[in-house]
C-alpha cells in the first residue's frame, strides 16, 4: 500500500461527504447562480444575461424592496452583534469562574433554546407578547410598567428589533459555549503569572483572557454574520411571508422566498428569486472575505 501513488483510503473516506455535499450544496448553488441568468417567456426559458439583476437594482419597485430587506438584515445583524455576543461573552466569563456553584445547570438552561425549533420559539414568543392572551401586558402591569407595553410585533418601529432580540434569546448559548471553551483552555500558569504581577479580577479578564479569546470572538462574529444573512425561519413563522407590518421585518430570506415561490395571488418567479439568492450569496461572500483577509490574518495567536 505504501508504494501505490493513489491513496485509496483517502478517496474512499472522503467520497461520501464529497458526494453528498456536491449533490445537496454545490450543485444547487451553481444551478441557482445559473437560473438567475434566465427568464421565462410564454412557458419557454430564455437566457437573458444580467437582465434580472438590472430589474432587481434598477426597477424602483424591486430595488426598494431589496434595499429595505438588506437594511433590515444589517439591523438584525447589528442587534445580534451588540446584544448577543457581549452577553454570550459575559455569561461565559461568569460560568468559567471557579467559585460559581451550579455552573452546569445554568450552562444547560441557557443553551437549551438553541436546540429548539424556530417554529416553537416563534410561536411561544408570539403568545408571550400577544396583547390578548400574552403574559407580557399583565407582568408589566404588575410591575407598574404598563406604559412600556406595546403590541411589539405589530408595530413597524419595534417589530424587527423584537424579533432580533427573540433570536438573540434563542442563540445566545452558542457564543457562550464557544467562549466558555476558549476560556477553559487558558492555562492556569498564565493567570497565576499575571496575579504575581498584580493583575487580578476584572483586570485579568480585560488584559489576559480577552486578548486570548479574540480569535474565538472573530469566529463567532462570522458565524453570526452568515447565520443572520441566511435567516428566514423566525420571520416566516412569526410574521408570514409578507414580513409585516408593512415589510418592516422583511429580510433577504423572506424577500427571496416570496419571489421564488410566489405568494397568494403572486405567482412564483424562480428566476428573479434566484437573482435575489445570488445577491445574498454575493453579500455573504464579501462579508466572509473581509473577515478572512482583513481581520483573521491580523489576529495574533498565542501558543501555549
Amino acid at each position: 500500500m505504501k508504494n501505490s501513488g493513489i491513496k485509496w483510503h483517502v478517496i474512499v473516506f472522503l467520497a461520501p461527504a464529497v458526494l453528498v455535499y456536491t449533490a445537496i450544496m454545490i450543485f444547487p448553488l451553481f444551478n441557482t447562480l445559473r437560473l438567475a441568468l434566465y427568464t421565462e417567456v410564454d412557458q419557454v426559458r430564455q437566457f437573458v444575461g444580467l437582465e434580472n439583476f438590472r430589474t432587481l437594482f434598477g426597477n424602483p419597485h424591486w430595488s426598494g424592496q431589496f434595499w429595505n430587506a438588506l437594511g433590515n438584515n444589517f439591523w438584525f445583524f447589528f442587534i445580534h452583534m451588540i446584544v448577543q455576543n457581549p452577553i454570550g461573552i459575559a455569561l461565559a466569563a461568569i460560568l468559567s469562574h471557579p467559585r460559581l456553584r451550579f455552573a452546569a445547570v445554568y450552562r444547560t438552561a441557557i443553551f437549551v433554546p438553541t436546540i429548539l425549533s424556530f417554529v416553537i420559539v416563534g410561536f411561544a414568543w408570539k403568545l408571550i407578547l400577544s396583547p390578548i392572551w400574552g403574559i407580557t401586558p399583565d407582568m408589566l402591569k404588575a410591575l407598574g410598567l404598563k406604559w412600556l407595553y406595546a403590541p411589539y410585533l405589530g408595530k413597524e418601529e419595534y417589530a424587527l428589533t423584537t424579533l432580533a432580540l427573540i433570536s438573540v434569546w434563542q442563540f445566545v448559548g452558542i457564543p457562550m459555549m464557544l467562549i466558555y471553551a476558549a476560556l477553559l483552555s487558558i492555562p492556569e500558569e498564565v493567570l497565576e503569572a499575571g496575579e504575581v504581577d498584580g493583575i487580578t479580577g476584572f483586570a485579568s479578564f480585560w488584559k489576559i483572557k480577552l486578548p486570548l479569546i479574540l480569535p474565538s470572538i472573530g469566529i463567532i462574529s462570522i458565524l453570526t454574520f452568515v447565520g443572520n444573512f441566511n435567516a428566514f425561519d423566525l420571520i416566516y413563522t412569526t410574521q408570514g411571508a409578507l414580513a409585516g407590518p408593512a415589510f418592516s421585518t422583511d429580510i433577504l430570506g423572506t424577500f427571496m422566498y416570496r419571489t421564488f415561490f410566489g405568494f397568494q395571488l403572486q405567482l412564483g418567479d424562480p428566476h428573479m428569486g434566484s437573482a435575489i439568492a445570488s445577491g445574498m450569496f454575493g453579500i455573504i461572500l464579501i462579508g466572509v472575505c473581509i473577515y478572512l483577509f482583513g481581520i483573521q490574518t491580523r489576529l495574533r495567536r498565542y501558543q501555549f
Partner: protein
C-alpha cells in the same frame, strides 16, 4: 445482492400493485384541510356508492403552502388526479403550463352560469379548466346578545354602522369589532373588499378598473380606505399584533360584538360560539341605495392533465355538477355557497341570512383578483398592505390610492 433483489421486488410491487388493483383510485389535492372530515364522511362515500370501481382519496396540505407545494408536485409529476383550483391567475397559469386539462366539454359544466365559470376560464372564455364548486359571501357577523343588551339595531347605512360601533365602545363591555392587522389579509379581504363594492358599484366599477376607465385614485376607490381609517379606534387594544385566529377566538368567546367576516367562518363559529349570531351586509352610504355584496368565486376542481385515470376523474367532475353534490357540499359546509344552477335548500340560519342578500343586492367578486394581480407589484398583495396602513392611520386614503395606481400603471397596459 439479495438485498438488491428484495428492494427491486418491493419497488416493483408498489408500481404493479397500483396498476393491478381492480379499483381506480383518484387523489384530490386541496388546501382545505379543514374539510377533511367532510370529504371522508360525506362526499366520498356518496360518490363511491354511486360509482362503484372508483375510490377517492382527499389529501389536503396547509393553505399557506398549497400553491408552492402543488406547483412543485406538478413539476415533479407526483401530483394527484384532481386538483383544487384557486380562482383566476394561479389556476390559469397551471392551465397555460399544461398541468390542468381543458374540461369545457364535460356535461357537468352545463349546470353553471357564465359568472360562476369566469374564474376558471381563459381570458377569452374559450376554455374552462375547473369545475366551479363554491363561492363565499362577505359581510359582518354579530353577537345577537350583545346587540340586544345595548339595544342596537342592525346598521343599514354607514352612519348607523359607526354609531353602533360608538355605542358598543362607550358601553365598554365588548370590543366593538374583532379584527387584527398582524396577518394583513383580513384588512383587505374582510375590510376593503367587504365594504368597497358599495362605493365602486360592484361589477360596474370592477370592470371599469380592469378596462382602464377608472383609476385607483378615483373617489370611489379611495373612499373605502377613508372608511377603514375610522375602524382603527374600534378594534381591540393591540390590534396591530392580533392574528386571524386571535380575532376568531375573541369573537367566539363573546368578547367582541362584531366580526368582519366571510361566510366561510360559519361552520367554525357555529361550533365555537355559545351565543346566537346574526349577520348583516356591508353598510350603504344612504338609506335606499342599491347594495352590492362581494360574492366571491373561491374554489373549484380541475383535472391534472397528466393523470393516468382521466376517465375516472371526468366521472368525478361530472358528478360534481349534479344537485346531489351541491346539496351535500352546501349543507355540510354552510358558508360555501354552491355556484351551480340547482336550487339548494340550506338549513343553517346564518348561511341562509348570507345567501338571502343575493336576492336584495348586486353580486360582485373581489376587485383585485381578475387580471389586476397578474404583474409585479401584485395589486392584491399591495392592497393588503394599503388596507393595514389605512386602518393604522399611517397613510391617508389619497396617498394609498396614488401608490397603488402607480404600481398598477407600471405593468398594466390599460393604465399606462
Amino acid at each position: 445482492m439479495n438485498r438488491k433483489l428484495l428492494s427491486l421486488a418491493l419497488l416493483g410491487s408498489t408500481i404493479l400493485g397500483g396498476a393491478a388493483a381492480a379499483d381506480v383510485t383518484l387523489t384530490i389535492e386541496s388546501w382545505r384541510n379543514d374539510d377533511l372530515v367532510l370529504w371522508q364522511d360525506k362526499i366520498i362515500p356518496a360518490f363511491e356508492a354511486a360509482n362503484p370501481g372508483i375510490k377517492v382519496k382527499f389529501t389536503p396540505s396547509a393553505p399557506a403552502e398549497y400553491n408552492a407545494v402543488l406547483n412543485s408536485k406538478l413539476d415533479a409529476g407526483s401530483a394527484g388526479d384532481l386538483i383544487t383550483c384557486r380562482p383566476f391567475d394561479a389556476s390559469l397559469a397551471l392551465y397555460d403550463g399544461g398541468h390542468l386539462a381543458d374540461i369545457s366539454g364535460l356535461e357537468g359544466m352545463a349546470n353553471f352560469s357564465d359568472v360562476a365559470k369566469s374564474a376558471w376560464q381563459t381570458d377569452d372564455a374559450s376554455a374552462s379548466f375547473c369545475m366551479p364548486m363554491a363561492s363565499v359571501i362577505h359581510g359582518f357577523i354579530y353577537n345577537k346578545e350583545a346587540f340586544a343588551e345595548l339595544d342596537i339595531k342592525i346598521p343599514e347605512t354607514e352612519a348607523e354602522f359607526f354609531a353602533a360601533l360608538e355605542t358598543i365602545k362607550a358601553d365598554g363591555n365588548y370590543i366593538p369589532m374583532a379584527m387584527g392587522t398582524n396577518d394583513q389579509w383580513e384588512a383587505a379581504t374582510m375590510g376593503y373588499n367587504n365594504i368597497g363594492p358599495n362605493y365602486w358599484k360592484g361589477e360596474e366599477g370592477r370592470l371599469a378598473l380592469i378596462a382602464g376607465d377608472q383609476k385607483l385614485t378615483d373617489a370611489q376607490w379611495v373612499a373605502p380606505y377613508e372608511a377603514l381609517a375610522k375602524w382603527g379606534e374600534y378594534l381591540g387594544d393591540g390590534y396591530e399584533a392580533q392574528t386571524y385566529p386571535d380575532s376568531q377566538n375573541i369573537f367566539t368567546l363573546g368578547r367582541a360584538a362584531i366580526y368582519p367576516a366571510g361566510s366561510w367562518e360559519i361552520t367554525g363559529f357555529n361550533a365555537q360560539a355559545d351565543f346566537e349570531m346574526g349577520a348583516f351586509k356591508a353598510p350603504v352610504q344612504n338609506a335606499g341605495d342599491t347594495c352590492y355584496i362581494s360574492d366571491h368565486t373561491d374554489i373549484a376542481l380541475g383535472m391534472n392533465a397528466a393523470s393516468p385515470n382521466a376517465e375516472a376523474a371526468k366521472t368525478f367532475l361530472n358528478w360534481m355538477g349534479t344537485s346531489e353534490f351541491a346539496g351535500i357540499y352546501a349543507n355540510a359546509l354552510p358558508g360555501f355557497f354552491s355556484l351551480s344552477n340547482h336550487e339548494v335548500a340550506m338549513e343553517d340560519p346564518l348561511a341562509q341570512e348570507f345567501v338571502s342578500w343575493r336576492g336584495e343586492c348586486e353580486s360582485t367578486i373581489r376587485s383585485t383578483y381578475q387580471i389586476l394581480s397578474r404583474g409585479t407589484p401584485n395589486l392584491e398583495n399591495e392592497t393588503w398592505g394599503a388596507s393595514v396602513a389605512a386602518i393604522k392611520g399611517s397613510k391617508s386614503g389619497a396617498d394609498l390610492g396614488m401608490e397603488l395606481q402607480s404600481g398598477l400603471a407600471s405593468w398594466y397596459a390599460p393604465h399606462k
